[in-house]
């Protein structure tokens, strides 16, 4: 009692090409082969196939599926690992979506695609959606009015301070010192100090989750192309992220 390749394909809800592929890579061999080379599968093979398709549907790769079916790997462990991977992928997509939204906002604003306003970090119109999404409208409003309330001189001074901080980060990153060096940690301290001056962020609230905010910010720097572009690529932004994380762990 067995079926041709098309028949089980239909029964299991897949294609004959897939069956041939599984045969090629040794994942599922046909039960028997006719003298003409035709592949035939029995009920046991069907069960195996259904297991394979289930695991595939869950997103496991064929090598992993193979391991699980051969009992070389525990299904629970395989799925747990896969779940972790799914989480990371989701986080990655979320970061990318945030970046896209930001770029979109800046495009609608001034129409320029260039990342020239690197470290001002509070161009506000550019960050509005994200700030609101993360910290609520009140926080955005607070930060916005704080910024608007400053005079031109103050704004300029603020930006220059931010730019100097940026330059110092770049210099440190390029000098090759480690993220836990005294130099990098001093920069992290200045960075946090700078952040704390802005009202409406968790860093400035007395009971705020400064630690989470700072480390999250570091992750954002790596994910955000504007920062990466201006810190000598990913490695530079990664340096900033690591330094901030270490600092946050120690002092916040």
């Amino acid at each position: 009692m067995d079926w041709s390749i098309q028949e089980i394909a239909k029964i299991a809800g897949t294609t004959s090409r897939t069956l041939r592929h599984y045969d090629d890579i040794g994942l599922l061999k046909p039960t028997r082969t006719g003298h003409n080379g035709y592949r035939y599968y029995d009920a046991a093979a069907l069960v195996q196939l259904q297991r394979i398709l289930l695991l595939r549907q869950l997103g496991l790769g064929l090598p992993t599926v193979s391991e699980v079916l051969r009992h070389e790997t525990d299904a629970v462990r395989a799925l747990s690992g896969h779940l972790e991977w799914l989480r990371q992928e989701q986080a990655r997509l979320a970061r990318q979506a945030a970046s896209v939204r930001q770029t979109l906002a800046s495009l609608k604003g001034d129409g320029e695609l260039v990342a020239e306003n690197m470290f001002d970090g509070f161009d506000h119109t550019q960050y509005k959606d994200e700030v609101e999404e993360r910290w609520g409208k009140d926080a955005y409003a607070a930060g916005d009015s704080w910024w608007r309330g400053m005079g031109a001189e103050e704004k300029k001074a603020w930006k220059q301070g931010a730019e100097k901080l940026g330059r110092d980060w770049i210099r440190a990153a390029e000098s090759g010192v480690s993220a836990d060096s005294a130099e990098a940690q001093e920069l992290a301290r200045r960075h946090v100090e700078w952040l704390t001056a802005i009202p409406g962020t968790p860093a400035s609230a007395p009971e705020g989750d400064t630690k989470g905010y700072v480390t999250g910010l570091g992750e954002m720097y790596v994910a955000d192309p504007r920062f990466a572009a201006n810190y000598g690529g990913e490695s530079g932004a990664g340096f900033v992220r690591d330094a901030l994380r270490i600092y946050a762990e120690k002092h916040l």
Copy 2:
């Protein structure tokens, strides 16, 4: 004033291989080519390259990048479309993760394939890592001992209450009432009440940031496949989120 392939690669934070690839597919040709075949790039090419890399980091494919740079496609439209794609991908991953968790649960438990543990939210072994990560080990330990301390009857009652809350949410979402309707707001109130009963969460601490916790929880419901899966997809979870946010704004 131009640079060799390695030099711009370093400047722009990419690899020479990538530049050759871009040359091959006609995305970015070198400014000039030496008699020896060496590629040389000038400042204008660098700007183009940076634009390319920016769009790539946002997740656009090379053909799309090409279109945008040739002004055949509006950057805003391209990014908007991409954003939509990102959302769908996130949703897809979310559904997959939900399936994996279900399978995992049924593998660990008594082999029940049905989604019976939908709203218990405190299977604890299943949520341990996440709770610890978000609220610290103490919070987890508190919640855990609280849960362990309950008798079987109490546990059952608790679960049933949670399940009823879940069903009511679903019914409300499906009935099409708005998130700020009296019905939805009453559910939000019950939800917060339910949360407040659990020790070790900010909602139960007298000085805790209940408002931030509840709204954050709402966001999690949308992002977290476990909830989305059990609330009829994104739209259902979105309804819960909105209702909770509105309630939190008003009453917390």
